[in-house]
Symmetry: C2
Amino acid sequence: MENHVTAMYKPTDKVKEDNPSLVTKRSVKFSKKDGDHSVITINGLKEPADHPDYPAISDLNLHIASTYVRDAKIGHNFKFKHDERSLRMYDIYNKWYLEYLLYFFLFVIMALALFEDPAVPNLALPIWSTMIIESTCLAYFTFRLIHSKTCMSGIFWMGDIKNWIVSGVIVITVLDMIIYAILLSKEKPWMRLVRVLRPLFLLNFKETRELRRSFRNIRRSLPGIFSVLILLFLVIGLFALLAREIFEDDSLLKPDASDYMSQYFENFWDLYVLVTTANSPDIMMPAYDSSPWTMLFFIIYVILCIYIFMSIFLAVIYKDYRKHLKNEVQKSVFMKRRHLVRAWDTLKVWKNPIFVIPWQRWMAVMKQVEPSRSVAELKLIWKVLDKDEDNNIDKRAFMKTVDILNVTIIEKSRFVPLWEKYFPSMYNSKASQFVINLIKHRFFGFFFDLLIVANAILIGFRIEYLEWFFLTIFSVEIVLKLYALGLYCYFTNLWNVFDFVVIVSAVILSIAAKAAGSNGGIERRSLDIVLVLRVLRLVRIFNNFEKFQVIMKTLVNIGPSIVPFGGVIVVIYYVYAIIGMEIFAGKITYYGYPSEEEMATFNKSLLFCGNPKLEGSEFYRDHYCNNNFNNILKAFITLFELMIVNQWHVVTSGFVAVTSKAARIYFLCFHITMVIIIVNIFIAFILEVFMVEYSLSKSSFESEIEKKIEELGLRAQVGSTTFTDRSSLTPNMEQEGSNELSREEVDLSKFQLGKSSNSVLKILQNMFEGELDEEDLGPADVEDLEQLDVHQTDTSPYPLTLGNVV
Amino acid sequence: MENHVTAMYKPTDKVKEDNPSLVTKRSVKFSKKDGDHSVITINGLKEPADHPDYPAISDLNLHIASTYVRDAKIGHNFKFKHDERSLRMYDIYNKWYLEYLLYFFLFVIMALALFEDPAVPNLALPIWSTMIIESTCLAYFTFRLIHSKTCMSGIFWMGDIKNWIVSGVIVITVLDMIIYAILLSKEKPWMRLVRVLRPLFLLNFKETRELRRSFRNIRRSLPGIFSVLILLFLVIGLFALLAREIFEDDSLLKPDASDYMSQYFENFWDLYVLVTTANSPDIMMPAYDSSPWTMLFFIIYVILCIYIFMSIFLAVIYKDYRKHLKNEVQKSVFMKRRHLVRAWDTLKVWKNPIFVIPWQRWMAVMKQVEPSRSVAELKLIWKVLDKDEDNNIDKRAFMKTVDILNVTIIEKSRFVPLWEKYFPSMYNSKASQFVINLIKHRFFGFFFDLLIVANAILIGFRIEYLEWFFLTIFSVEIVLKLYALGLYCYFTNLWNVFDFVVIVSAVILSIAAKAAGSNGGIERRSLDIVLVLRVLRLVRIFNNFEKFQVIMKTLVNIGPSIVPFGGVIVVIYYVYAIIGMEIFAGKITYYGYPSEEEMATFNKSLLFCGNPKLEGSEFYRDHYCNNNFNNILKAFITLFELMIVNQWHVVTSGFVAVTSKAARIYFLCFHITMVIIIVNIFIAFILEVFMVEYSLSKSSFESEIEKKIEELGLRAQVGSTTFTDRSSLTPNMEQEGSNELSREEVDLSKFQLGKSSNSVLKILQNMFEGELDEEDLGPADVEDLEQLDVHQTDTSPYPLTLGNVV
């Protein structure tokens, strides 16, 4: 950490007077005055020369500092080199278009499975074209890797396992493509199982931090789950043995006339399926019919395995999830702080008795970090940070910079309706104001809520001739609300957006249906759906009740937190789908289910889903032929159905019938991965979101940090109309940018806080930050926070209080 | 509270010299010396006369104090009157045989359903006999109620809603019995639906506190669940509407050729069943076959309803459960403390500068509270309490009395094997000691673990000719262990008991099977099962690994905590079973499933489970006829299968077929009560047990309180061999009992702590006590703690820290 900061305050001999950037101009001016007050040590122990002004900051140091602040803001942990070239390369590396291009190519390489053999019908592409697309993706990944290498010192790059994984997968994929091409030219088959590795790209680029974090959570929960799983399998194995001993002498039969509980491994399978409840009560019925007492066996088994073991699974996962979440939160906070401390060390100047950062330096950094922000906005943020208004901030305030940057600030003028701006006299007339007050009155809302209920009832009872009336009145509602609230206010409320989309599309579709005649087919049906969607607005009514608000808020807040989780699920689905396609593609196909009369005329090769082995099977009887792995979409849907668990053993039995009993391994693995691990983690995740959400809504109905900033904002607003106390700044510091600011006489009260939909992780980070000592940068011996382990944070004494345990 | 304590220290003029009890003798001796130092006020503000000795305590006050201590110990909250007669009646009321008689009659009145029409086959009793049994039960309940009335002042008795419920149910039941008898004599039918009220007896006697507490928890969680449930039903209703609009024009058919998704209320039912996953993927297949895009509808629905809503149900319940558990814990701790404070106020004497309780008074109370404890044991407990060994304890120490009484104390002599006592020379001989050390060595255990594995494998592969060898060697193991450890040590380990039972019964059964010949029928089969049970010992091996220990410990600790929960489930099952029997009994009966050939010869009236309406139904096809409500046992099993959820809609469809669609309401209600509410509470309960267990095992692998007492015990052991410092006691206090004690010269180190299997509630109580201020008796304005509400304890500031939230 120290090695790059010692370069600070070196003589600014490479300054160019004609440098066009504001920042450099300022640094030039500083350097003129400074002479060589440059050998100030930065460890804070030696006191620097007490100079009335500040030494100039070099371009490089400014660049370093702003890069650290930016990385702290977006949460990157990139060990860039501290020379000008690397920093410039790193700036390019972080350009939004290069980043989005990466996401695009990641999406493309994943989506290729749609077009490659076995392709989704109508989407099949020739092999040369998919090969070219894949090569392009790989080329971009390689470019990205090399690019990151140029900004990093070699040791760090080499030390990052992720880079090696990406490189490895690229090499393997290229080899696989070559082999495939060669074999194809000789018309020999080749399993492209290497496609299973594609999700590794998704997981191993720096940009997919969140996804990796979710995966890490899962990986770390595995040991805990593993021991319960072993115990569960042991218990199942034991009960399978018991079942054989109890039932084999009775020569019972299942409804399909097969032997009942007579073979050990069949028993094991049946009992495992029973743990998933999928074959209950069928598996019990033959025994129950023969003797009621045998139900005791099943009752004990079910209570033990379904209720107790499955709950313990959830408990183990929930406990681990909380532990890891806590760990992740701490890690990201420490990482952010370390970045900021590095920036601080680069920027700070000595002003007796402490180090501070002056307004000019801070502003210069912010101009680089947040070029899109207006000067007024930055000034507002500075006001919040600089509490004593001496135009310097201390370390404590500087560390808050990033958090405040992440709060959405909106200019109040945006809340003023356009019509008020352009036709103020009309808009502010008495009649207009009366109408506006009427519209804003809560009875206006109640009236339309009532209409929604009425409309819903009519839709339910299919009384459609009033539809035009409702459509008109709801359109009028939208126009009125738009008039009263203005565009910005109207469309920042999600319910209004929903209303708008539904009603406008309903109007358009109604007109289209009218135009196309009464049997307009697709328009008619879409219209039906839109009509029904309007009933969803009923949910809005429930939002009026406090009880429902926490639940609704949870549902909404799950949104941003769920995205990385969805990524994990997609990755797992993808891997299983590719494997499933390689094993099962083409074995079962849906050709319709001929009735007994049609049977005779039906194409023989298409009978029984194109596979005579399915004749008489439960799979065919239940019409499950569409649940196959013939292309990636079908595979996804089949896996989705397997995830819901019910009847998964029947789906399995179908694929066992067309291959062998070994196919069970595939389905068993999917069940363990998806249902026992991932779904439980998902439940743990929802539990946690709910708990956090509830604790917050209970304490103040608002996140702690938001309240704090709002309060600061208010304070800033109260004494803010003039940006006074400029006398402390020496005249020569009043250069262009700064002068412009002071002359503009910004009204800081014109801003207000925007709504922020924080993810749970964000909320927890803010909470953790509130508890943490301000100087705490995490365990000193852990340089690379990626390696920071759970156990280290666990050693802190855990107060065993009722509040913590219950 | 004060009114009964003012009676303290009144002149002991009613003393009888010849009273045989030790306590009264002592109080007589005191009274001789005291004269009239009796007007000492008890509120602690007025200083009493500074007398070198203590005033005598009256019989009545001693009785009051010991009653309060006993109630605090067992957790009763009974507002008994403070006169001698009421106290004596209350002592009788608390006699164990009267209490167990109550449990017995509660069991009998519940179990009557087995014998009443529709009775379990072979258990049917004539109506007059069940009537007599029921009357007896009711008579005992009435007696119990009247008895409790005699110990309580009328106002408290009247103010207790529980007494009114019990009285009310008794009256209603008697009326019902009379009507039933009259109608029966006129041969008219009468539904004995009043039996549904029987569980109210179970819930409303003072003795079933734990059960009531569990019920209260559930009742309090209902409002939270209710709002989510409404939201869920709204969403289902909406999707049902959407499904009708999407699918009705396609004229799709289900596999059973019925219309697909065309009627609103059918859609609603189907989609509700889909939330339970029971009809997945069947309900999706027709739509999927017609167009893959329709799967989007189901995917959105499933993610929203199954994954998100069901998780939120669990989250809401878990949150409420924790809140209520915390509340219950606080309530019970406060109740105990208030009882103890009352006892303290009655017993305390002034010894400058504080109130204390002297050894004699404490001992007198303990003799009444714990008559079964030996004097030495009580002395040990006193040692733990009386830290400064001045033979007085202060309030702080007195408040701990009950907790220490609840710790099991075992005499060390019980750990010495019998053979050591009777044949010491033989047992302690070198050869014997060598063998014992060998047996106690861990390799001895490993060796037999290996043998168990080997035996398990052989049993799995049905290699039975080595069975005699294993049986012999395991018997030898038991004998050796018994020799080395002694009876007490051997049988206090549950694994050893299990071993012993399994091996001894295996030996007996083997001999019986040998005697009965090789095809010994029932012996042979039991032997098989016993052989397999031995495989359970494999689990013991896993207990060697630390990872499994937490899980095993949780499994074991769930035991005591689960009992009241089991009670709740039995009550709910009972109510639904009685209702189910009244509605569905006799509608469906199992008569076997004739094959197509047998069909012709089969009794027509017995075809299709005795109900032709079931012909061709899925219910019959799946052989579910035994899932009926023809007697209470069958009803319980049917409800159990409904609780597992899978195929519950098929069971429902059977009963819908033989009655009407209204039958769905019964099954829907059961599903909501049992699966959505109770099972989720059960999972929340296991989560909580696991979390508490884990926190404890992590901190010290031992409950905090146990550790503390052990430490105190050790301290007591170190300086305990003589009960010194008796000089502070005046000679006249050295009466019989006390003299006896001091002369005996008890070796206090001969005791050691027994293993306690604490329930989670107990652990949490101890934890909470550790946090609580010692003087805190709960909110002062709440006199009756039963009324103490959640919200009151919730107002305490809840520190919003990462540790609390995550």
